[in-house]
Symmetry: C2
Subunit: 468 residues, 2 copies
């Protein structure tokens, strides 16, 4: 008997118990407080005893109760950050991925899973209007953006072999933190990220981009890449992709689109993403607007050769031994990862179950819910809408009876209290130095009634804080 | 009704069906052919129709049969690469992680999961003899090694802000491909990785390391870091960690240990890893020698400040708002990731169920099985052992009736045919230019009988190839 023996009966019993917990979690999601009432001291105490020397057998599962009680319940009224709602069929795909324990390094290691992932990538690329793009699934947008910029650097100013890379990357002032982080990691330096000003709707201004590039060239610096954002994290702004692409082409620069938040919405409203297919590389997160459980990022690119130039450097022990294009395929030649979980099984199962049409509808509903919230805010004198709503992020604040200098502090307290009440969860953004409450709809469970609850809860929380 | 509606009954029915598939997979694992008899054309054809516009509902699960039939069955006789055997309680932890859909960015986002992951990291650090180290779980060894070297670069020659990094990194000729890949990515350049020769047992030679550093310093170059390997991928060699650490200290260099394959064996045989705790950073893969399903890498480090210096660069919308050390904690300040799956749930549940003692025993059994295979090879005149077996990788080849120049080609064919027979799965290594069959034991299911089957299958395959 092996030391980690688990009989078929053991597995069946444990799987049944975990499935029951999963069913309960989903059934009770709507009635749970989103943010658990728990302190850091409480959560550390739960695990203070460390990992046990002797196994607890079935008793090990007893501790799952407190773990779940202190977890965040992402129900219909969780509207913080940009986090998808965890479609449960996708979760079942993940379950099977872990049991099968396929390592999706190369076709040789997991034949069907490699073809399945390639098919998911092709299918999603086609769905967002980028047919012919290939790529791979990643841990998330940060990895996908890092990989896109690695490709850009190697395409425009190769440094893999000699090191000492240099060059300038352009993005709007609304750029996601993962982009400066990638520049730092790649040895390009955060100071070589030019932050281009935006227009009144938080979109990169093409003429300012053009000017910045021209100035850098004149100063003897080397422009490498432009990062356009398709759905800024603050307000959901989509940079003018066609104009940016034209500038990139004119100057011979790589165009990466950070579509982690927004790009999958091109499935539903392609007209808002005109020019998306002009990108050289494109990141988008299926764990955001395709509602999949984390982690499920996607990196797409036009030219697999550029990915192999950036990432192919295989040790002998993983070198594939086939001349066949499929059987010789290795994701590690096009990725920074070697071992890779079968991430594609979840979107594959989830999309096959519901169909692409249902996902398009869910995205449209999110867009409607965001518009609905914006209208309710506009109609409510105690609230102020702080930005346009081009996709599904809504920035607003409470203003009634507050002078401008008091508003930031009050809304900061309001958000904390609102989230602690547990019925609604919002996050925040800073827009022109002002603190904004921010609701982001990438949640297939949210209804029109939930949107009304957001407004009601914000108003009730304000009353509570004002002692009314 | 939302467009992705799934009722509690739907979920229960689908979960039951997926659990049944999981049970079948595990029950039939031992009788399945490890490498499926399938071609690239077959696997591509399975997914040729793309993602469906209309949902197939329960029919979507019908396609799981062919997916599973064409997957690799990692049973007791799968001994390729370095891939753990997928402990099923861990898989159930993954299942729950996906249903709960926690995003382990920061305590604020998932209070219990953040504390749980910190506890798992602390517990594993203590278990391998590195108490007090902190860190995080990663997608795998490639990411963990990349992060360790990012910390090294920022500690010794900061480039996050200004770019243009330079410096030299040292590792043995047996270094894993993820290290040169990390140097390329970080802008240090692969040519600035010095490959230090090894001794007869494939361990880095400290005097050669010392000499290389001295030469680089004399030539005006800047040494940054030494990567010691605790378990080389070819033969499982453990570099002399204490000696390497002394050299690192003397020259003021960062010491990273790539323990992706081996370091977790320090739980069972700490005497083979003397000096491990002298590392500044250490990677190890729980999806290797802790038998967890992929992905489950671990990065440990002595000083969290160094991690924050390398990775902290937070955008406003994720900035935490607590002064409390636990409640203000954010993994993204110490990692290249932002969105993060609750990876820790699997080792936590798996270790609680079985207990650390059972894992120590399983590791000892792997070591015994490797020794057993080495003995059988030594005792078998038709086979030749090609390297010592310090951990659990065994390199050997078929030699009977073959002149030296014929051996590489014959063993290459032998491996392909052996794996195609489906009963045993080995991978390969190149040692001093010679092709070796390689069996690696990180598999809790392998028995002494399975080890005998490896030899029997190799001999039978050789007969088959020789037409005997």
């Amino acid at each position: 008997m092996n030391p980690l023996e688990l009989t078929p009966d053991d597995f069946r019993r444990l799987a049944h118990r975990v499935s029951t917990l999963a069913e309960q979690w989903l059934a009770e999601l709507d009635s749970r407080a989103i943010a658990p009432a728990i302190t850091g001291r409480d959560t550390e105490a739960l695990f203070a005893e460390g990992l046990p020397e002797e196994g607890l057998k079935d008793g090990a599962l007893d501790a799952l109760g407190p773990v779940m009680a202190g977890a965040r319940a992402g129900n219909a009224r969780f509207l913080g950050y940009v986090l998808g709602s965890g479609e449960p069929v996708g979760a079942l795909g993940d379950y099977l991925a872990s049991v099968l324990n396929q390592n999706v390094t190369a076709w040789r290691s997991s034949p069907t899973m490699v073809s399945l992932e390639r098919a998911v990538v092709r299918g999603l690329a086609a769905a967002v209007g980028c047919p012919g793009f290939t790529g791979s699934l990643t841990g998330g947008g940060s990895s996908a953006n890092l990989m896109g910029l690695t490709m850009a650097r190697e395409a425009k100013a190769p440094a893999n072999e000699e090191g000492s890379p240099s060059g300038v990357v352009y993005a709007s002032t609304e750029v996601h933190m993962s982009i400066p982080k990638a520049l730092a990691l790649l040895g390009l330096g955060r100071r070589n990220l030019r932050l281009i000003p935006t227009d009144a709707e938080w979109r990169m201004r093409p003429e300012a981009l053009e000017r910045a590039i021209t100035e850098d060239v004149a100063a003897g610096r080397r422009p490498l890449a432009i990062v356009a954002t398709a759905g800024t994290v603050n307000t959901g702004a989509v940079d003018p992709l066609k104009e940016v692409a034209a500038i990139a082409r004119r100057h011979g620069l790589w165009m990466h689109v950070d579509g982690a938040f927004g790009a999958l919405a091109a499935m539903a409203v392609p007209e808002r993403f005109e020019g998306l297919a002009l990108a050289d590389s494109l990141s988008m997160d299926a764990h955001k607007w395709l509602y999949q459980p984390v982690d499920c990022g996607v990196l797409l690119y036009r030219d697999a050769t550029a990915a192999r130039r950036a990432f192919s450097f295989s040790g002998d022990y993983v070198r594939t031994m086939s001349a066949d294009a499929v059987e010789g395929f290795a994701f590690f030649d096009e990725s920074l990862e070697l071992s890779r979980r079968a991430r594609a099984l979840k979107p594959w199962l989830s999309v096959r179950y519901h169909g692409l049409r249902a996902f398009r509808e869910a995205i449209r509903k999110d867009l409607e819910n965001a518009s609905r919230l914006a209208e309710l805010v506009r109609a409510e004198p105690e609230l102020e809408l702080l930005a346009p709503v081009p996709l599904s992020a809504v920035c607003f604040r409470y203003v009634a009876g507050l002078a401008e200098p008091e508003r930031d502090a009050f809304n900061t307290r309001l958000m904390a209290r609102l989230n602690a009440r547990g019925r609604v969860y919002l996050s925040n953004a800073t827009l022109s130095g002002r603190f904004a409450l921010r609701a982001c709809f990438v949640n297939h469970r949210t209804t029109a009634e939930d949107v009304q609850t957001v407004v009601a809860e914000v108003l009730a929380t304000a009353k509570e804080l004002q002692g009314a």
